[in-house]
């Protein structure tokens, strides 16, 4: 019996190893689930062989962008943003790139762009652009891509067709955007660096299903990197030697990019310290100390160590009592202990936000006078005073105030379970509100439940940070004051704040051309005044562009002295904001 057991055991072990070896290899050749039209897109002229081992001096290991196995390479889906960062930015490119540090759009696929008149925007493409299958990238592809938004309402940029009349290819390299008489200039310019250009010759025969929700395996794009392979915990890209940008911007240094899906942040921490990850975009606790000791490098050598990536805003459900009372909301804003969030929960890795909610790069649009008059800051005594003034007193002596009608107040602030930094932050929010007399408790539902509450408007208070680096303040205010109010709010104004006046102000801002800086400042000032008077949501801090690098293999990472645009980030939607430039600037240690 002994011998048999041992034999059986070894057979099982070997079987297990062989199974593990064989099954991931089947990934790259499996059939897509929905239709087989997508497989037509997988014809590549150059077959990349997958090496069995990646040479260390040609590979960069990154993490922090993928939190689940890759499921799609469709550039029109946010899903591809979440788990296959690189589809947008590496494979598919845009007309413009945006430098968030200077706030300027630089031509990318475009060589130049001009406003012929108030409603006509002419773009001239660079010459010699090609797709990775050899076909040329022309104005036809650009027009085709934008027209997809007209055909299919499910694509995210389709609303732009409410003010775009036509997109025409005048020649191989000339594209003309004709807008209607009252366009949303801000959204239009925003789209110029966010709409990925897809190849007409491959996508024109795809069904609606494939275009809107298809997997798009083996994507063919025009970008600096190509898809190589993937498994459930890594996505691997290989450099495209035919990329047009090699001559214009420089050749990206690493040949292979291995994007690792880490199951949790602390695992990434260990790997960065060992040099197994070169660039980690995870939130790593204790990084401040690590950076001080020189174990990792960060963008800033001192606090806040990280660039600011987006604003963490506390959304208040304005349909509930007592959150429907502006006075209560304003008092709450003064009760929240943001300094503790910055110093304790984040150990100085973030900065407190401007009450306007705008990121530092858009500072010029913040009306400092309005801030001085209506802005809030942490002051428990002040908060208590404001509550009392508004009629909220503690009737039953339990330490918490009741409404002016005498009803008990019991509120809850939530964030997804597992988002440890936010969990710590809402704990502080709850305890500081309690210190001011507001009965607020923290809770951590699972992500799915939290998301449902967020969009269904069944939460009390919750955090959200979807407004990220942008070329215009309009994106933030569009998120905060999204309208019209619907049953499900999917992309903003989760607290269902209904104020037609502010909606009009935001719409008016959208219509101001980017060149009219004074006009924009005026519009922002009006919005900020209304926002801070009513306080429907409370901007709290700037979430960091978490980035820490190991200098064991690669060096010349971005830091505060680098010439922009270089952003040390692998997050999706950020490659065209300077992430690619980072890769171009990298050098091997020792060279």
């Amino acid at each position: 019996m002994r011998k048999n057991a041992l034999f059986l055991l070894s057979v099982l072990i070997i079987a297990g190893v062989v199974l593990a070896a064989c099954q991931p290899a089947a990934e790259t050749t499996s059939e897509p689930a929905i239709s087989d039209d997508a497989s037509m897109a997988s014809e590549t002229t150059a077959e990349e062989t997958v090496p069995t081992e990646f040479p260390r001096n040609e590979t960069i290991y990154v993490s922090g962008a993928a939190w689940g196995p890759a499921s799609t390479w469709n550039p029109f889906q946010p899903g591809s943003l979440a788990n296959t960062t690189g589809t947008i930015g590496f494979v598919y490119e845009f007309l413009y790139a945006f430098d968030p540090q200077t706030g300027e759009l630089t031509p990318w696929l475009a060589e130049s762009g001009t406003w012929a008149d108030d409603t006509t925007f002419d773009v001239t493409l660079r010459s010699g652009l090609t797709w990775t299958d050899g076909e040329p990238l022309t104005a036809e592809d650009v027009a085709f891509t934008f027209e997809l938004g007209k055909q299919y309402a499910a694509l995210w940029f389709s609303p732009m067709w409410e003010y775009v009349e036509s997109v025409t290819a005048l020649s191989d390299t000339e594209v003309e955007f004709k807008l209607s008489s009252d366009p949303l200039y801000q959204e239009f310019e925003n789209n110029l660096y966010n709409v990925p250009i897809v190849p007409k010759h491959l996508w024109e025969n795809m069904s609606e299903e494939d275009i809107t929700v298809g997997v798009n395996e083996n994507p063919i794009g025009s970008g600096a990197y190509k898809y190589l392979t993937n498994s459930e915990d890594r996505n691997i890209w290989v450099r495209s030697e035919e990329w047009w940008g090699n001559d214009v911007f420089g050749v990206p240094a690493p040949k292979y990019i291995v994007d690792i899906r880490t199951s949790s942040n602390n695992v990434a921490l260990g790997m960065v310290l060992k040099g197994e990850i070169d660039l980690s975009n995870n939130f790593l606790p204790g990084v401040a100390e690590m950076a001080d000791k020189g174990y990792v490098k960060t963008y800033y050598a001192e606090a806040p160590y990280m660039l600011s990536a987006n604003t963490a805003v506390l959304f208040l459900n304005t349909t509930l009592k007592p959150l429907d009372d502006a006075a209560f909301r304003r008092a709450l804003a003064f009760a929240i202990d943001v300094p503790s969030i910055v110093n304790v929960a984040y150990a100085q890795l973030v900065k407190a936000a401007s009450p306007s909610g705008l990121l530092p790069v858009l500072d010029k649009y913040v009306d400092q006078d309005v801030m001085a008059e209506l802005g809030y800051y942490f002051d428990t005594a002040q908060a208590k005073q404001m509550l009392a003034d508004a009629g909220y007193v503690d009737i039953d002596g339990d330490g918490f105030v009741e409404t002016p009608d005498g009803e008990k107040i019991e509120l809850q602030v939530t964030c997804p379970s597992g988002w440890t930094d936010w969990m710590a932050a809402i704990d502080i929010i709850a305890s500081s509100a309690q210190a001011a007399g507001i009965n607020l408790k923290s809770a951590y539902p699972d992500y799915g439940a939290w998301n449902t509450e967020l969009q269904g408007g069944t939460f009390n208070m919750t955090l959200n940070n979807w407004a990220s680096m942008s070329n215009t303040p309009w994106t933030l205010y569009n998120l905060l004051f999204r309208h019209p109010i619907q049953d499900q709010m999917q992309s903003g104004n989760f607290g269902r704040y209904d104020n037609p006046e502010i909606f009009n102000l935001v719409d008016a801002l959208a219509r101001i051309p980017m060149s009219d800086e004074e006009g924009m400042k005026e519009a922002c000032s009006a919005i900020q005044t209304a926002m801070l008077t009513d306080m429907p949501m409370i901007p709290l801090w700037y979430n960091g562009l978490w980035a820490q690098y190991s200098t064991s293999t690669w060096t010349n990472w971005p830091d505060e002295n680098s010439a922009s645009p270089t952003l040390p980030t692998t997050w999706s939607g950020y490659w065209q904001l300077g992430g690619l430039q980072t890769l171009i600037n990298l050098e091997l240690v020792g060279e």
Binding site: G16, Q23, V213, D446, Q455
Partner: protein, 332 residues
């Protein structure tokens, strides 16, 4: 014998039926709307009609717009065809594909640790039962190991061997610099990553088996037949051999009872070591309210445990001659 078998099979079928029904039921009562969750991943369109259109499309695709009894019926139908639906969390990957990726790792982790710990633990327990001195020194080790929570042992091993000593990796199934192939280096990497998770499951189970075996052996040594053999002058070794054989039997059924606990232990071990198995997948599916993936994982675990139980029952019958001689029904 035949009646025994039939009875067993009936119970297993009934269990399977009930388990599948529970499996189908439970995720459906979870709070939240999975289609809506998935829609936020798939499309950011703010166009209300577009959203509604997609919502209807997916409800239809996933069969959620049918009346409940029909959904149940369809579930059985597709189950028997081997189709477990499409994952919403990893849309549009089919559930069977997602499971297929994770299953080998679980099998690879669980089977060796269960078999080895059972074997080694029983030997150790029998050894400890030889004398009082041995028992007093070795048994506490068994208690302590078995009392250790799986994840704490995992944490300790990860910390000590992975970080302090740095000789083992603590994340993933194989090195991030290698691609799967049948080279020695790759296999080495797989085993290198496998060892610590395996060790933490093995050690805890080892302790449990050792204690169990020790108890059974002592019990058998105190039975009448042992004393009788002793008075007849049989060597101690012979008595122990018979005692061992008799003690093994409850250990086999005991293993079946413990399978559920071991699966739970594997789950937390996977979490500690980021090992891409089914347990970990189940956790992610729950957090993302992916009905179909939850069902698939749960189903797989249940079927696995049922098959294991059945196998153990058969082994028991083969080994214990008493069952073959016509003992029917449950032995007390």
């Amino acid at each position: 014998m035949k009646r025994y078998f039939l009875r067993k099979i009936l119970i297993y079928l009934l269990t399977f039926f009930l388990a599948v029904t529970i499996d189908w039921l439970i995720p459906r009562f979870m709070p939240g709307d999975p289609i809506r969750n998935m829609l936020t991943r798939v499309s950011v369109s703010s166009n209300a009609t577009a959203i509604q259109m997609m919502y209807d499309y997916y409800s239809h695709l996933f069969g959620l717009d049918l009346p409940v009894w029909q959904q149940y019926f369809n579930f059985w139908k597709s189950l028997l065809q081997g189709d477990l639906g499409i994952s919403t969390y990893l849309f549009p990957t089919p559930v069977t594909k997602v499971l297929a990726r994770a299953v080998p790792y679980d099998v690879f982790l669980l089977v060796p640790s269960i078999l080895l710990s059972w074997y080694a633990g029983n030997k150790f327990g029998a050894f400890a039962a030889r004398s009082k001195k041995l028992d007093n020194t070795l048994s506490p080790l068994g208690y302590i190991l078995n009392a250790t929570p799986y994840m704490w042992l995992g944490i300790l091993l990860a910390w000590f061997f992975g970080i302090v000593l740095g000789i083992f990796p603590i994340a993933g199934a194989y090195s991030f610099s290698l691609q799967p192939n049948l080279s020695l280096k790759f296999i080495g990497s797989v085993l290198h990553h496998w060892f610590l998770p395996f060790a933490s499951i093995f050690l805890v189970e080892f302790g449990g088996q050792a204690i169990g075996m020790r108890n059974m052996i002592i019990y058998e040594l105190e039975a009448d037949y042992s004393h009788y053999l002793g008075t007849l002058g049989a060597p101690k070794k012979l008595i122990r051999k018979y005692a061992f054989r008799n003690a093994i039997l409850p250990q086999i059924t005991g293993l079946a009872l413990k399978l559920g606990v071991i699966v739970a232990g594997a789950l937390v071990t996977e979490v500690v070591f980021s090992y891409p198995g089914i347990g970990y997948l189940l956790l992610a599916a729950i957090q993302n309210q992916d009905y179909f993936l939850i069902q698939g994982c749960f189903l797989f675990i249940i079927i696995g445990v049922l098959i294991a139980n059945f196998t153990i029952d058969i082994i028991y019958i083969l080994i214990d001659p008493r069952t073959r001689m016509g003992m029917t029904g449950e032995t007390a």
